[in-house]
């Protein structure tokens, strides 16, 4: 059994919100996803991925900003990791 991983970055912490970024890793070796290989997200929302059979196995925690750095921007906050096993 091999794992395919889909990472979706959403506009808010809600799983049914809009996809703003995406990555995928293919343990089957059938595809070779990489940086900058598509302009169109595989799904419009996180729940669209669930409906297509992807299993959610991790979601970002909601962490308060560090004092003094409330206005800093850095990594994307709302990261959801999904898998399919084949």
């Amino acid at each position: 059994m091999k794992q395919r991983v889909l990472v979706l970055y959403l506009s808010t912490s809600s799983l049914d919100d809009r996809v703003v970024g995406w990555s995928s890793y293919d343990g089957t070796g059938r595809t070779r996803p990489t940086t900058g290989d598509s302009d169109d997200p595989p799904y419009e929302t996180g729940t669209d991925a669930l409906r297509d059979g992807w299993r959610l196995f991790q979601a970002s925690q909601l962490i308060p900003p560090y004092p003094g750095h409330e206005y800093d921007t850095s990594f994307l906050k709302h990261e959801f990791l999904f898998e399919k096993l084949e």
Binding site: V7, Y9, L10, S11, T12, D17, V19, V20, G21, W22, S23, S24, R32, P33, T34, T35, G36, D37, S38, D39, P41, Y71, D72, T73, S74, F75, L76, K77, H78
Partner: protein
């Protein structure tokens, strides 16, 4: 850099402040593109860190001719002032069918400057088509505080730019912008020449400010990008306000009251 007649307008400076880059298509003439490509193929000696432009690039060299092109010289003067130093140069090559892309990254190391910035010039001497591994750019990512390839997990972001361009195209990038060389799926080598410039003068109103009050300035600075999260996108505007205040030396500038509101503490001084 000899020419200052092509200074950027305030609208274009605001675009740079918002997007983190400017694009000059086909700004380099064909004869210089040919010379430059030959130089890249033959190898270009490095430049010691912090070298003045005139010392780094001798008269007549392709690099000197490149930075002396009026639109390039004017944009550089607007961004980093009259006498920037050359931080370093590099020839970047994406080999034919090489099979991998660079991870998304910012160059050098995390850089927290809010009132100064370096500019990276990227020059493409030949046409870059979709399958040639043109540079991936993420507009509006330059103020995110991340360190080099820590963003490597991000493969695609809505609104990203997968650069295709005609020969002789130049990009001018804020040092912090997320970017990467894409996988070259073609049978052709893809060349890019990079120069990083360090300012030596305060980066305050170095451009043509005659249009500073044009409403298009605020419109540019208010631009949001499809990959921004809803809440963090507001912080991007807040941070742009801080950058524009520094560039214009005007600590009253604001957009939609974002910065003014959260600093209003009547009667409090500490």
């Amino acid at each position: 850099m000899e020419t200052t007649s092509h200074l950027l307008s305030s609208v274009l400076m605001a675009r740079f402040a918002a997007q983190g880059f400017l694009r000059l298509d086909s700004v380099v003439p064909d004869d210089l593109n040919t010379v430059a490509r030959e130089a890249m193929e033959n190898g270009i000696p490095g430049v010691p860190y912090g070298t003045a432009v005139k010392e780094a690039f001798p008269d007549g060299s392709f690099a000197r001719r490149l930075v002396d092109l009026p639109p390039v010289a004017g944009a550089l003067r607007s961004l980093v002032g009259p006498d920037p130093t050359v931080d370093h140069i590099a020839v970047h090559v994406r080999e034919p069918n090489e099979g991998s892309a660079q991870p998304l990254h910012g160059d050098a190391i995390i850089d927290t400057r809010r009132d100064a910035f370096d500019v990276q010039l990227m020059y493409y001497p030949h046409e870059v088509t979709r399958d040639m591994g043109g540079t991936l750019l993420v507009p509006g990512s330059h103020l995110r505080l991340t360190n080099e390839t820590d963003t490597g997990r991000y493969q695609n972001l809505r609104g990203q730019i997968r650069l295709t361009c005609p020969p002789g195209t130049v990009l001018l990038l804020h040092h912090g912008i997320w970017h990467g060389g894409r996988r070259n799926d073609s049978a052709h080598r893809r060349y890019m020449f990079k120069i990083r410039f360090n300012p030596t003068t305060p980066q305050i109103r170095l451009w043509d400010t005659s249009d500073l009050d044009d409403p298009a300035v605020v419109a540019e600075l208010s631009t949001t990008f499809p990959w921004y999260e809803q809440a963090t996108g507001r912080l991007e505007i807040y941070n742009r306000v801080a950058l524009w205040r520094a560039l214009t030396d005007d600590d009253t500038f604001d957009i939609e009251y974002w910065a003014t509101r959260v600093s209003n503490r009547p009667g409090r001084t500490a």
